[in-house]
Symmetry: C2
Subunit: 746 residues, 2 copies
Amino acid sequence: MKRRVGLFLAVVLGLTMVASAQERLVDYVQPFVGTTNFGTTNPGAVLPHGMMSVVPFNVMGSEENRFDKDARWWSTPYDHTNTYFTGFSHVNLSGVGCPEMGSLLLMATSGKLDVDYRNYGSTYTDEAATPGYYTNRLTKYNIFTEATTTLRTGITRFTFPKGESHILLNLGEGLTNETGAMLRRVSDTEIEGTKLLGTFCYNPQAVFPIYFVMQVSTAPNSQGYWKYQRPMKGVEAEWDKDNGQYKLYTKYTKELAGDDVGAFFTYDTEEGEQIEVRMGVSFVSIENARENLQRETEGQSFADIRKRAEEIWEADLARIQVEGGTLEQKQIFYTALYHTLIHPNILQDVNGAYPQMEGGKILNSGVHNRYTVFSLWDTYRNVHQFLSLVYPERQMDMVRTMVAMYEEHGWLPKWELYGRETLTMEGDPAIPVIVDSYFKGLRDFDVHKAYEAMYKSATTVGKDNLLRPDNDDYLALGYVPLREKYDNSVSHALEYYVADNALALFADALGKKSDAKRFRAQSLGYKNYYSKEYGTLRPKLPNGTFLAPFNPKQGENFEPNPGFHEGSAYNYSFFVPHDIAGLTKLMGGKQKFINALQSIFDKGHYDPTNEPNIAYPYLFSYFRGEEWRTQKMVTELLSKHFSTQPDGIPGNDDTGTMSCWALMSMIGLYPDVPGVPEYTLTAPTFDRVVIKLNPKYHGRDQLVIEGKPIGDNQYIKEIILGGKKLNSHRVTHEQLMKAGYIQYKY
Amino acid sequence: MKRRVGLFLAVVLGLTMVASAQERLVDYVQPFVGTTNFGTTNPGAVLPHGMMSVVPFNVMGSEENRFDKDARWWSTPYDHTNTYFTGFSHVNLSGVGCPEMGSLLLMATSGKLDVDYRNYGSTYTDEAATPGYYTNRLTKYNIFTEATTTLRTGITRFTFPKGESHILLNLGEGLTNETGAMLRRVSDTEIEGTKLLGTFCYNPQAVFPIYFVMQVSTAPNSQGYWKYQRPMKGVEAEWDKDNGQYKLYTKYTKELAGDDVGAFFTYDTEEGEQIEVRMGVSFVSIENARENLQRETEGQSFADIRKRAEEIWEADLARIQVEGGTLEQKQIFYTALYHTLIHPNILQDVNGAYPQMEGGKILNSGVHNRYTVFSLWDTYRNVHQFLSLVYPERQMDMVRTMVAMYEEHGWLPKWELYGRETLTMEGDPAIPVIVDSYFKGLRDFDVHKAYEAMYKSATTVGKDNLLRPDNDDYLALGYVPLREKYDNSVSHALEYYVADNALALFADALGKKSDAKRFRAQSLGYKNYYSKEYGTLRPKLPNGTFLAPFNPKQGENFEPNPGFHEGSAYNYSFFVPHDIAGLTKLMGGKQKFINALQSIFDKGHYDPTNEPNIAYPYLFSYFRGEEWRTQKMVTELLSKHFSTQPDGIPGNDDTGTMSCWALMSMIGLYPDVPGVPEYTLTAPTFDRVVIKLNPKYHGRDQLVIEGKPIGDNQYIKEIILGGKKLNSHRVTHEQLMKAGYIQYKY
């Protein structure tokens, strides 16, 4: 029923002339990668860090779908194996693990008006996507759909058959679990409104509004609203013919509010008639949504906007040029880069306005971007380090954003979503992100304010510590004891150790020696958890004894596990990146460490789908003579888990973190210690990689990496850094920037 | 459990000092009259023709209530026999037969916050009401409640016990069957929003928004929203703890929209602490609701506003002064006057803005009042004639409003409600209302536009005739045949005859002789329905034969009846007020007419609760020597059906029509032919009645009526009109205004 056509066919379909003899990087991007196997990416039209995304929504309304958003824990508007399309959702998340966003559902139908998505959805064919563009053909209606986007405005074009046709905007459904919307007709061709979003990861108070203005290019013959009428009881029910049904409002033109409301536009279309819909959004106000729409799209055709979107993507992708490697490797690489550049995304309107973090004020970001969607427990591991290297001006604005959040809300972000602290996952991950940036020369922010913020979460005791809720135990005992069966106590503490290590480095840099000493000492508390008996970390009880019974395998496949969050003791036991030497000593020396780490892989305890053990393969390179294991494991993992297919990401992309792992692994640089400006090196996938640098931050304009394994010589024999042989497989950011050139020999 | 205390006790309760040695007319008003026995009045605080009313809402939430709004066809926010109070509803209808309005439910509670009205409601005691004021004590919470009002703003004061206390605004429930509301926190002490109202008499498209601004006098300790979460299914349901419950939003402060939403304000009150709530409304916008609130209440205390409300009522009631009569008679009289002055009510804001009739525009009423709530099938029989006599400047604005509705919408109103034509009941009742006013000298409106409007509904053929949907039959046959079992065909036609008689008179007055001839001929078509066999009117089929079988008693007690709406053939057969002479001839002469009419009363076929036969008692006075029957029947009906008790109105007050029947009957003037400026006279209840007239319209400043029956002399022997003996018991408006004085002798 459904067939994804190649880019070539999409071009043949004649929508835009994308003819170029020259290589275009956007052509390597495969937007369907990660759109099944719980990768939770989507093939929608989006710009780098764009507020808007226009995504085919196919996760509700039909039992023929393999996955239904309400039938299980479900977090993406699209799955490639589903077949029932119910419209385009506007503003979506890519690579998250909880249901959220994915609303303002825009559908086109032909024939008799039906506003029930269980009826009006359609299977589709001729599906294709390129950066900034998506298209399909609705088989039920023979309607051709296309979507493109600007930063804050979605543009959708429908090509209709002859006859009665409809454009529907459904505000009652969406991926989000929040309900409630208001809409208002502005004119024959414009409606505006607001919808509540939120409860990310079922946090009931993390809710926020989205505002929109929607314009259709052609005035309809008729239009109206609908609202599902909650079922009445008793005699009342007998008299109301709309009871328990979708009521159509054909004459009413003012505000309509409700749990399940929508608007329809009805046309008498000619064969091939095109109607375009533009949806501007804002998180500040309806007026700003309108201004965003106007300033971003006025005077521009669908083709103009699509072309501009492609140019923006091309420019962003071109920050890294690769040579050598197969077509598939290039596709994997640029697709990973594409996925890495989606979040965090901008929050401010064209006029700079954005909603205060956890407050009611409207603030202004001035000349800077205000970012949102900080899934920091994920992205602090590699995404921000990558951005600091390749897009430092963006990372700079993200750091500014984080410090501003502290000023607005009193806390640095943990998992921030459109001005809400969702408190998802654990730890204090903004600390390593900011410290890492600082050490890489990204210092155009209020450094002392940032330190103040970090110091607050590291030292505040009692229930008032939003970021470290178990700080009393942590400070008193040096670890977090298990107080409730699934309180993830060890995972919490491990995150604090990493953060405190970064904070100690930062304190040192700011001349705060005693603070530095204190935090460094705290960062070593992980030793409390080390169990000689198992050779792993192991939960501890408040009385200081280990949890018993204990099974280090428990927690595989996301099963609940005392002390550990989303993983087993194996997935966490090497997660002490800042003190590998100390952990090695605990474990009985290098060989025991290597054996234990290798056995994680050999015995299938490594989880390629989640973050805690994501840097494990790189730990071998701390030990002379064992670096080949890093190269072997990384190559194997890349080859096994990343592909150009819809299941080509190993599990949830985690707002680009999984993609970024592949990306940096393919370049051959990995930042395995969050907050510490160092990389572990591995054999790159390409003959030559040229990364454009920003002289303002990096002191030079490019970094060149050369030399991939050839033939039987799989492992690095020699590394030449800036013309000098490097005595290690680890390198500091400063060394790298000074050198500007790495050469690998095999 | 519940006890209504007298005014004296209310005064003793010490809330306001209402001490006066002088007689006050407001003290005669008994706002509880008509609040049970389906009278559908209410004891809420309201001004004459006020947009706002603040009404104790006691028709939902408890099985201990005798009547539940959803368990049956129910049309009033309050019933005196109910016991469970769930708050004050803002903006209500008085005396209507369909569920509508009665929303913006404001409640006060103490103790733990609970936002479910099934839990938070309370029984009450110490209930009392005077014009512009209502009070009770909530037994569950020991909260003392008081409400007063301006034209567009409700003011409620709660006196709390010590402890945790709450003010709740429920936008999810109401008497209206429409749902959907949006609210937004403006500040600690102010919220604003809009709620959808409508579907009066289950007309699905007759919907419209109300806008509000609500201010509390004291900033709360905490506040938030609630929204009922529609039940989820499957796995989704397991994760959302608010699934199928009222979710509290404690941190969210922006727009909240939904089917069932509300807001709470939480306080830590001292014993006896008073908190006041002011609710401004508008049918135009939130901004106008705020302006209404500010301009009407700024700088005024609760006591000021209550006092002003009382003064306004006192001044209005004082347009008619009565002497003699018992206390009970005075109470019945002024209560009837009170109920007659509630609808129609003003629609425009303080700045003159109002919503276009059946359109999206906002218009301005300038220096005039724009009225709404025209239940014309009821009120065209006496309310507008009464207003023309006693409050002609208001009737003048109502006529202007009706003509403006034609200009805005293309049709005169039938049953207009807040800018919507609900098309409830039948006929073309605006015609007699406007014509009657015209003939009484109320001519400051676009007379030719009015005639154009009337001519349109009287002559338009086909489906496009909104007011006379069966005009094709009516014009072709001279009557409306029965085409569907319960199509009320005879009732429709009878209304058209009355309207066409009025229209003929109007055409004559405007010099349109041929139109006049045509409409006069049409007005006599009732003869088609006369059945010699039964001596009644009887439905006719399209082929010209009478409906058979036929039972002239069918239709009693609102049972369905072919051809007749809400009544039997008996209730309609004398409803040819404009041609009593012709009907008499049809019936075989005076004696047969008198016998038949008398038997309606004697055999219990007269329905004192509904309009079609409401003027029957007055028809005797067309016949010399039979006038005593009018006096006898009117006296008996007044005595039997009107009292000072809650069941003191015989059935639905029909926006004052029933009350107005009593009122005019007690004065001794009744306008039994709608559209014809004449009155039938009967013995007044009082020794002396002085009605203030408006010299601008009436040429004099008062009308005096003297002489009530004394002792055994029950029936009028002689009528002296302006010093001259009157040879009839009927009088024209012109005669009456010229004379200014009627004296009755017995």
